[in-house]
């Protein structure tokens, strides 16, 4: 029995255009208008980088319905990933402070990224149209005191593990998720490691030698801390 030949035809390769950032991106601009009309007042803010990507921010209470509408009306049928961002600058900087000196003053004002934001933490998801291959980043604010948002499992089944990871790393509750067990960490681990106010203990106990970043000399020591690797 011979392997079946695939049915798809060879598609012409895209023209060998040198990468140019188009100043006008009509495809994405039209898409953004269509998205706004299908979501209505659920869209709080949006940002478009021509030739690159679209960001929109939706209301927290309209999160699940918005993603469902985007899937059904605007045919964003591919679930890429879901994650969260903590916009608070880290109180520990990059962990390079001299422990003998008093702690330096840091600018702790919270600034959000594209498409704005009013809370410290945001959940964001990337969905893609599998026909046109145009992607869309959707963000939503989560309240500081009780970071809660609806689960996307009923819209994209693949959101399951991503929400478990975001719950574990950022402490965000996903309402309607059946099984928010820990994914990576031990069951009795306390805290949410990806929050900016969670210190990276490896940097706290031993000062980081790589403050000045230069190309290492051949034969020079490098202080890599990940010794995993060459398995299989």
């Amino acid at each position: 029995m011979l392997p079946k030949l695939p049915s798809a035809e060879v598609r012409p390769l895209s023209s060998n255009s040198e990468i140019t950032t188009p100043v006008v991106d009509t495809a994405r601009e039209e898409l953004l208008v269509a998205i706004k009309s299908s979501l209505g007042d659920a869209v709080v803010d949006s940002h478009l980088k021509p030739g690159d990507d679209i960001w929109i921010r939706v209301r927290n209470d309209a999160w699940q319905t918005s993603i469902k509408k985007l899937r059904d009306i605007n045919s964003f049928d591919y679930f890429c990933f879901l994650s969260a961002i903590d916009w608070m600058p880290s109180p520990y900087g990059r962990g390079e402070d001299d422990p003998t000196e008093p702690a330096p003053q840091r600018d702790m004002t919270i600034r959000s990224g594209y498409a704005g934001g009013e809370t410290r933490m945001q959940v964001f998801v990337r969905i893609v149209n599998s026909k046109t291959h145009i992607g869309l980043n959707v963000k939503a604010d989560v309240a500081d005191a009780t970071p809660t948002i609806d689960s996307l499992i009923t819209v994209f089944a693949g959101a399951n593990w991503h929400e478990r990871e975001a719950h574990e790393m950022f402490g965000i509750e996903f309402a309607g998720h059946p099984d928010l067990r820990k994914m990576y960490l031990p069951v009795d681990f306390e805290g949410h490691p990806m929050r900016k106010d969670f210190p990276l203990l490896a940097r706290m106990v031993k000062p980081w030698p790589g403050i000045v970043d230069v190309e290492p000399l051949p034969g020079g020591d490098d202080s890599g801390d990940s010794s995993d690797g060459d398995a299989s």
Partner: protein, 388 residues
């Protein structure tokens, strides 16, 4: 989604389980696979609840290799991050560096010289060949055929030698820099690579003969672990797993990046079946296509520098960027947030295996125990790529 063979057999299995428990006071059995198992490419543990020979419920337990690269990246400078991301998918390390560097370059508005882009693309495809050729050999072992893995290790070595002679590292090249590459190619490398590509095409033919034409292999993989198109999209499967479900989508072709895939003539293969065989077959064809890409690009590398002018201390302007590429395992992307600092503010690593393996609780329902290994092998994951 419901109503296909697996869901029905799952319901039947559950009903049978309940009836058995009532009448015979028997219980289902829980089978623990791993954390150390050759089918897991690392340390993945799978907990499967069985009813006789059928799986009623299965769930992978991750976290045995979680290294927290997203947190570590926040305290590193941009050039230092490549050392970390190298170790995500350790069989195709160079391919992990490229999307991160491209994201940083996108934020900075820097572009690598054309020669560097060519060499990047060639090394990217070489890491794909090294990675997938091991998959092809390993596949045989998991179905009880010993020979293919020896062929795979023999021929992968040629590719690793090439990567080593160009970058200095067999597994962890750490060769990509913001604005270009660390070094130019060594003398004689191009001719050697041509010879190796010829050998690798021979390897693909051998594997096709030994394995894909084998009746046992076909009966173990055909119709096993079928993923329909809409389920594949819902779970965010990527790479060969997605194309085996009939989705014609290859990021190398379908997005414009400063890489040189569109300078070569090659084909994106898809398969309508969505079963284990289709996934393996697509990977075999992709290895062949990769050797073609490398061959064509080798002939047209232009002369010139391999490094653009970038400052010694790299500060990346404020902004957010998403870049993903078609890595050996699937779509590997980085969502990089910069605050105009030396290091990234937040890096979200979207790795292919995480999505690819998150389908297993759905996919393993109702399958028979020997098929667990086949299905996991055909999904092809690497633990470092799941746990990050």
């Amino acid at each position: 989604m419901l109503g296909d063979r697996q869901q029905l057999s799952y319901i039947a299995a559950q009903a049978a389980d309940a009836r058995l428990n009532l009448e015979l006071e028997t219980e289902g059995m829980t089978l623990n696979i791993g954390p150390q198992h050759p089918a897991t490419h690392g340390t993945l543990r799978i907990i499967a609840r069985l009813d006789g020979e059928q799986v009623v419920w299965a769930e992978p337990a991750c976290g045995y290799m979680h290294r927290g690269y997203e947190k570590l990246a926040e305290v590193r400078t941009f050039p230092q991050v490549t050392t970390l991301v190298n170790r995500i998918d350790w069989l195709g390390s160079f391919a992990n560096e490229v999307p991160f560097i491209l994201a940083a370059e996108k934020l900075m508005g820097v572009e690598a010289p054309t020669r560097a882009q060519y060499i990047r693309t060639i090394l990217f495809e070489l890491s794909r060949i090294a990675n997938v050729s091991l998959f092809l050999g390993d596949l045989g072992v998991q179905l009880g055929a010993i020979t293919p893995v020896f062929l795979a290790f023999r021929d992968r070595e040629y590719v690793l030698n090439l990567i080593e002679s160009a970058t200095g590292g067999r597994f962890h090249p750490n060769f990509d820099r913001i604005g270009g590459l660390k070094d130019d190619l060594p003398a004689g490398w191009i001719d050697e690579t041509r010879a190796v590509m010829k050998k690798l095409r021979g390897f693909c033919d051998q594997i096709e003969d030994l394995l894909f034409g084998n009746e046992i292999f076909q009966s173990r993989t055909r119709g096993i672990g079928v993923i329909p198109r809409d389920v594949a999209l819902q779970y965010g499967l990527s790479g060969a797993n997605l194309r085996a479900s009939g989705v014609d989508w290859d990021l190398r072709r379908d997005q414009s990046l400063p890489m040189m895939w569109n300078k070569a003539d090659w084909k994106v293969w898809t398969h309508p079946d969505g079963d284990s065989f289709a996934r393996c077959w697509i990977r075999l064809q992709e290895t062949r296509e990769s050797t073609k890409i490398v061959d064509q690009l080798l002939g047209s590398i232009p002369a010139g520098p391999v490094m653009a002018k970038v400052p010694k201390i790299i500060k990346v302007p404020e902004g957010e960027a998403w870049v993903s590429t078609e890595n050996p395992l699937g779509e590997m992307g980085y969502y990089v947030v910069s605050r105009g600092d030396l290091g990234p503010f937040r890096v979200k690593i979207r790795s292919a295996s995480f999505n690819n393996i998150s389908i297993t609780p759905w996919l393993l329902r109702g399958v028979y125990v020997p098929d667990i290994v086949t299905i996991l092998a055909s999904l092809y994951f690497i633990l470092g790529d799941i746990d990050r």
